[in-house]
């Protein structure tokens, strides 16, 4: 880890704790860069104080934490971003598109620095970027140092530094006008209390409070220019002044008398202001903070409104203190160690509480069981014992079923994190290609297994980029086609039974099946005769064929398709499927269907050789009993027609390398049980010895060297205590086809092209 010349602040700690803290930091840093990016993107649309604050906080926290664990390149870099955001927050730097662009770029660099630490790589050289960041800060506009909205009515040569006056908060203008309509005057006030104010036991704020009795304070601002650094600060000296804009019917002299009660030696200046020059501006931070002091407790409000009694509030508070009603917003962190990695899952406290309740139920049931045992030992009536056992058994059954569902639920995460990255991707493509694209996302609250959410990110990003890049046309082209200039890309997720469906739709120029067929033939993916036999839907599916499209061949008519075979493979690895539909001129839609969870799924149980296998049901196209006489030989390999498609047959034990050819000769028996797999467009008939019933199974990981080259995903414990090996369909089919074809490259999907006839 690059430490620069500075010592590691954690050097005094044991190495294990040091590592743990660094890991904790890296985890949070990843979340903070996301937060920062989301906030900056939101600022592009609308600039509000809370979002600016959120962005500042993210940079600020990351800077501090990085310094705490000695990752100085990160802390120094974030310091630069923090400075810019602080200037924006203080209102001294306008948030121009250029600065937003610089900030967004900064987010990427920040992310890169975090990644570099994680991968033990040297940090990137960001000198050039740092230069631009500092240049952005030089844009700080002194005229924006508040007060630009207020001009003096009297001589500009006044002593009162007008630039010190606070701007009016939003809406303050109306207040001021209302006061003026009532005959009030508008004054600017500067109040610098004497240095020894505190020693005399006086409170400058008390003075301001008494001012507020005679005047309406429209805005205020602390003057801190006299503050020395903290090291030189004498806390007994009063060095903070106040600049105010007030409205009052009092005269200037009367207003000044208020301060006569102030500490001797204070500086007070009052100046009447020109009401016509009022312009509101964003509220300063202090005004926002003051907003918090109007905070009333719910109980007080409810009592005052006569909606509840004081007793009821007390009782509610007592319950709250016991933790029954609070806490569902807090998050607990539970480490879900899996296969030696150290990923962790964030879990809402409410979920943990529900689990604790269930465990409580189980403890009760256990006690009941012990009680029944004692009854039986003491010679209780058999019928009574049986009744007790049944009741307790039922309770345990319910608790365990719920427990299983809840614990699996802990792995579920909302798609929000995955979706968060999308606006950025679309924005980048649109900016690069001068397109106008609007992104709609639906269903970011849909929950999905964490592993699936993670595995889904890359394919989704790819599809989104394709839709924006190749799907949506340029504004001129869209205008010519009579479409609105702004193209729409829509990503919608929804839950359907035990799967989730994600649809990526664009209203771009769509794809032509005819052009797809021509292109596929010209690239040698299929021959002309096959092309002629394809339906339009099948032609569009060609886009998923490996080698169908490369970056170089992206052309107007295909519209998209870069690396679509990669998308299909990634989705298949997650146990999902992908399909495409398109209307020429109107747009394209890609549909992903994925299982909700990878841990528990329905599997077909089979026996092959001495082993029992579980095959994920999603991968199974059909099961057939094939009589010996229907098996033919093609290129020396057994094949048969299944569902009208010529399908290669391989014995399961041989497919995953558990048995040699001669032990599993196909065609020895009169009929064979064949499980036809259809994965990622590849088709294969697996011959098994015994076909059993489908069943819900829970997969446990197994050691890699036992996984038959990846063809086994894990093992599952069966109800009778035996173990079934769980097939990883994609890898298994690839391995089997490689054996059939006698080479490392499976001629994937060729079976599909040799249609019947």
């Amino acid at each position: 880890m690059a430490q620069g010349e500075r010592p590691d602040p954690l050097r005094g700690l044991p190495p294990a704790i040091r590592e743990e803290m660094r890991r904790e930091f890296l985890e949070e840093a990843a979340a903070l860069t996301e937060e920062l990016e989301t906030a900056v993107l939101a600022l592009e649309r609308e600039q509000d104080a809370e979002t600016i604050n959120a962005a500042f906080r993210a940079a600020h926290t990351m800077k501090g934490s990085a310094a705490g664990v000695g990752m100085f390149p990160i802390s120094e870099f974030m310091h630069g971003l923090e400075d810019v955001l602080d200037a924006v927050r203080q209102g001294t730097l306008a948030l121009s598109p250029a600065i937003l662009g610089v900030l967004l770029e900064g987010v990427d660099h920040g992310r890169g620095l975090v990644r570099a630490v994680r991968d033990d790589a040297p940090p990137a050289d960001l000198t050039e970027y740092r230069g631009r960041l500092e240049a952005a800060l030089l844009d700080v506009d002194d005229t924006m140092l508040a007060g630009d909205g207020v001009a003096a009515a009297t001589s500009p040569a006044s002593d009162l530094g007008l630039h010190l006056l606070p701007a009016l908060p939003r809406g303050g203008e109306a207040d001021a006008r209302a006061a003026l309509a009532d005959g009030a005057h508008l004054y600017g006030v500067r109040f610098m209390p004497a240095l020894d104010t505190y020693q005399r036991g006086l409170d400058p704020l008390a003075l301001l409070r008494s001012l507020a009795e005679d005047a309406q304070i429209l805005s205020s601002r602390a003057l801190v220019d006299d503050l020395p650094s903290l090291a030189d600060l004498d806390p007994f000296e009063c060095r903070v002044g106040h600049a105010l804009v007030v409205a009052t019917s009092a005269s200037r002299e009367e207003l000044e008398t208020v301060f006569e009660f102030g500490p001797e030696g204070s500086l007070v200046e009052v100046l009447e202001l020109d009401p016509d020059s009022l312009e509101p501006s964003d509220p300063p931070e202090s005004a926002l903070r003051a907003g918090g002091s109007g905070w009333r407790r719910l109980g007080e409000i409810l009592i005052q409104e006569d909606l509840v009694t004081e007793d009821e509030v007390e009782r509610a508070l007592a319950r709250q203190a016991q933790g029954e009603t609070i806490g569902d917003r807090t998050e607990a962190k539970v480490s879900a160690t899996q296969g030696g990695d150290d990923r962790s899952v964030r879990i809402r406290q409410a979920k943990v509480d529900a689990l604790i309740d269930l465990v409580g139920g189980l403890v009760t049931a256990r006690n009941a069981l012990l009680h029944i045992t004692r009854l039986a030992e003491n010679g209780a009536d058999a019928a009574a014992v049986l009744r007790g056992l049944k009741e307790t058994g039922g309770a345990i059954n319910r608790s365990v079923t719920q427990l299983q569902a809840d614990i699996l639920g802990l792995r579920m995460t909302a798609l929000r994190t995955t979706f968060q990255r999308m606006p950025r991707i679309v924005r980048d493509v649109a900016a690069r290609q001068d397109k106008r694209i609007e992104l709609e996302t639906v269903g970011d609250d849909v929950e999905v297994d964490k592993t699936i959410a993670e595995g889904l990110t890359d394919p989704l990003v790819h599809l989104l980029r394709n839709a924006a890049d190749h799907g949506i046309e340029s504004p001129e082209e869209r205008r010519r086609a009579g479409k609105p200039e702004v193209g729409i890309v829509r990503v919608a997720a929804r839950r359907e039974a035990s799967s989730i469906v994600i649809e990526i739709t664009d209203d771009g120029h769509g794809m032509s099946p005819e052009a797809m067929r021509r292109s596929a033939v010209s690239k040698g993916v299929i021959d002309a005769q096959t092309a002629a036999s394809l339906t339009d839907a099948e032609s569009l599916d060609l886009i998923f064929q490996a080698g169908f499209s490369t970056t170089a061949s992206v052309s107007e008519f295909s519209g998209r398709g870069v690396g679509m075979d990669v998308v299909r493979t990634s989705v298949a690895r997650l146990g999902g499927q992908v399909g495409v539909s398109s209307t020429l001129g109107a747009g394209t839609s890609v549909l992903l269907r994925l299982p909700l969870t990878l841990s528990v799924f329905r599997a077909l149980l089979v026996r092959a050789g001495a082993e029992r296998f579980a095959i994920p049901i999603d991968a199974v196209a059909e099961t057939t009993s094939v009589p010996r006489e229907r098996i033919e030989t093609l290129d020396g390999h057994p094949v048969t027609m299944i569902g009208g498609i010529l399908t290669a047959l391989v014995h399961l034990s041989r497919a995953i390398g558990f048995a040699a050819d001669q032990e599993t000769d196909i065609g020895v028996r009169a009929a064979m049980e064949v499980v036809t797999l259809d994965v990622a467009g590849m088709r294969l008939g697996l011959v098994v010895d015994v076909l059993e019933q489908p069943q819900e199974i829970m997969v446990k990981p197994i050691d890699r060297y036992l996984s038959a080259g990846g063809a086994l995903a894990g093992a599952a414990m069966m109800g009778d205590g035996s173990v079934a090996l769980v097939l990883e369909p994609l890898a298994a089919v690839r391995a089997a086809l490689a054996r059939v074809n006698g080479s490392g490259t499976p001629r994937a999907g060729r079976a599909r092209e040799r249609r019947a006839g």
């Binding site: 050097r11 704790i17 904790e24 501090g64 705490g68 100085f72 903070v240 905070w295 203190a321």
Partner: protein, 154 residues
């Protein structure tokens, strides 16, 4: 060990910092972190529910910042607070405001420019939190006035 440990509430919006501070405080046998809060509003609620002996309070937090939380805490249940924040120019002002509102002490977080060894921060934090926990608090005058005004309205 003499007597029961002081019960500490740690308030910070950064999960990393919450663990960082908790780790430091729990290394001292006289201190026990009873809970953490992620923002001022949570802190106020937890002060009422848990009645901690001492609080470490970050200043810059979402939902409700540390200064606002401090003024609420000093109103509803005056509890010694040690501000734990990083020093910036605006931070210095906020720190003064915190003292005015009744905070007992201030500990500087590590920051981009100043980096302190965790051992130094730990020594400072532990000693300040222990000292603060022993402090007997009166409501500061500003708060007392606010409370009196509030009572007058009831």
């Amino acid at each position: 060990m003499i007597g029961k440990p002081y019960r500490v509430l740690v308030v910070d919006d950064s999960a990393f910092m919450r663990r960082y501070i908790t780790r430091i405080l729990e290394s001292d046998e006289r201190l026990e972190v009873v809970d953490v809060a992620r923002n001022g509003a949570e802190a106020v609620a937890k002060v009422e529910a848990l009645e901690p002996d001492v609080i470490t309070l970050d200043i810059n937090m979402p939902v409700m910042d540390g200064l606002t939380a401090l003024s609420h805490i000093m109103t509803i249940r005056p509890t010694p607070c040690v501000m734990v924040s990083s020093l910036t120019q605006t931070g210095a002002l906020a720190t003064l405001e915190a003292f005015e509102l009744g905070a007992i002490d201030y500990v500087e977080k590590p920051s981009g420019t100043v980096s302190l060894d965790i051992e130094e921060i730990a020594d400072e934090l532990i000693s300040k939190v222990r000292t603060a926990a022993r402090a007997r608090l009166r409501r500061p005058s500003a708060i007392r006035q606010r409370r009196d005004a509030w009572r007058a309205t009831r």
